[in-house]
């Protein structure tokens, strides 16, 4: 606590122009069905890893599409830790838009590792 009893609030708005669009474009090029995601959360509801951990596949999609790659790591946001995915593929079976969600996770891991 400083001497004023408050601090300057940091805006939480996300400026898409500030993010690195390259990784997102590469992901869309490799998994084109990514663009069809409507964020219904069916993948998260059925996720095997999500039953035992706090992994949230829907959140990982959103963070990636908002170019918030730095949050897709183990320490900052445990529910967005891509390494928790067991690649069982159940999410792909339930997706109402036919998004290749399993392929999406694999591709996101590769892109982030090679960043």
């Amino acid at each position: 606590m400083n001497k004023f009893g408050f601090k300057i609030s940091t805006p939480r708005s996300i400026d898409l122009d500030n993010g690195d669009r390259r990784l997102y474009d590469e992901l869309v090029a490799t998994v084109p069905s990514y663009r069809y995601c409507i964020g219904c959360g069916g993948c998260t509801a059925t996720c095997s890893a999500g039953q035992f951990t706090d992994f949230n596949i829907r959140k990982t999609h959103f963070l990636f599409s908002r170019r918030q790659y730095d949050k897709l790591s183990t320490e900052l946001l445990p529910e967005a830790d891509l390494n928790k995915c067991m690649l069982c593929g159940k999410c792909s079976l339930v997706c109402p838009r036919g998004v290749n969600t399993r392929g999406l996770i694999v591709e996101m891991r590769m892109l982030l590792n090679n960043k």
Binding site: F4, G5, F6, S9, P11
Partner: protein, 350 residues
């Protein structure tokens, strides 16, 4: 086309004004209201009444949700009753929030006449007074704007940098309650605010049109009045400063007590918190009220205008314009007694 632009004009009475002072300005910028009365009476020869029985408009309490609207209506009705009793029809509230409160109450009465009758009854029950609705409500900045060209020949100085010969670059900021509640009540509307810009241009300066020009100053009432929320208030102010910084303004001109105070005082707070100032030399950007600016250009003594009470000091600006001042008289009050000098901030230069 002509009809379209009518929305950006407003009627401002010529003479015979009933003045209502602000609650907070007399503490933070105590010379401004006196200067306004002097300008109107002595420079323009107008009739303006400063009634000693006036009181708050409830604006701060109303916008903080602690004063109900019925109370506000009754208090406004009492102020109108004072005006009516003195035989005036043109109401001039010093504060932008008061201006917003009056225009809001009058619009309510226009749309719901039963509310006006309710206010009449409340006022009669409370103090046996009666009122008439003013024929014209104008903010003092509207009046200075209206007579800006008449004032210019009387001015000793212009908004020109005497070292470079270039016009001073000025950021103007209108209060939200001036033109953002009822846009038709502000000159130039909320889109093209011209009340202060018109003064700056008429007196030789150059207006800076920066991206966050129409953003709130950060006061926001509830954001400031609760200490834990002040981070939101100062974040808004910081956003404005960051937006205007690259344009290197010579000073900021405002027409609202809250904007004046926050754009001035938050510069100190931001400097203390983040060691950041928004001018190159670390002194901050001076913030003037339109009355202080008018008074300065007319040649009034800067210390009688109350410039020593500003957080960001104005001496460097006065040097640029060429206004003489006596530093040794800075802290001598009206009574002739010398007041103690304020403590110096750690990061903001003074």
């Amino acid at each position: 086309m002509k009809r379209f632009w009518n929305g950006y004009q407003k009627a401002i009475a010529d003479d015979h004004y009933f003045y209502e002072r602000s609650c907070i300005r007399q503490t933070f910028f105590p010379g401004s209201e006196t200067a306004f009365l002097k300008i109107l009476r002595e420079e323009l020869g107008k009739d303006i009444l400063d009634n000693p029985h006036q009181h708050t408009c409830t604006g701060i309490g109303y916008h903080s949700d602690v004063v109900p609207f019925d109370t506000t209506m009754t208090v406004v009705a009492r102020l109108f009753a004072l005006m009516t009793e003195c035989g005036y029809k043109n109401y001039v509230p010093s504060c932008v929030t008061s201006f917003g409160v009056f225009t809001e109450v009058m619009a309510k009465w226009e749309e719901h006449p039963e509310l006006k009758e309710k206010a009449r009854q409340y006022l009669w029950d409370a103090c046996k007074r009666e009122f008439e609705v003013p024929e014209n409500v104008a903010h003092p900045s509207d009046i200075i704007y209206k007579f800006r060209h008449e004032l210019k020949p009387k001015m000793k100085y212009q908004l020109v940098n005497r070292f470079t010969g270039q016009p001073l670059r000025v950021v103007e900021h209108i209060g939200c309650h001036y033109a953002k509640i009822f846009t038709q009540n502000g000159i130039g509307n909320a889109e093209f605010p011209y009340v202060l810009a018109g003064m700056i241009e008429a007196w030789g300066g150059e207006v800076i049109d920066y991206p966050e020009r129409r953003h709130c100053c950060g006061f926001g009432f509830r954001q400031y009045l609760v200490q834990e929320n002040r981070g939101y208030s100062i974040a808004n102010t910081q956003k404005k400063f960051e937006s205007m910084e690259s344009y290197e303004p010579d000073f900021i001109l405002t027409n609202c007590p809250g904007c004046n105070m926050f754009l001035d005082k938050w510069q100190y707070t931001i400097a203390e918190m983040e060691h950041k100032t928004y001018d190159k030399e670390g002194y901050g950007i001076p913030v003037l009220t339109y009355e202080e600016l008018t008074g300065l250009l007319l040649g009034y003594d800067p210390w009688s205008l109350g410039l020593q009470l500003h957080q960001v000091q104005c001496e460097r600006l006065m040097d640029k314009i060429g206004i003489p001042y006596n530093p040794s008289e800075k802290y001598i009050g009206i009574s002739g007694r010398r007041h103690p000098s304020p403590e110096k901030p750690e990061y903001l230069k003074v």
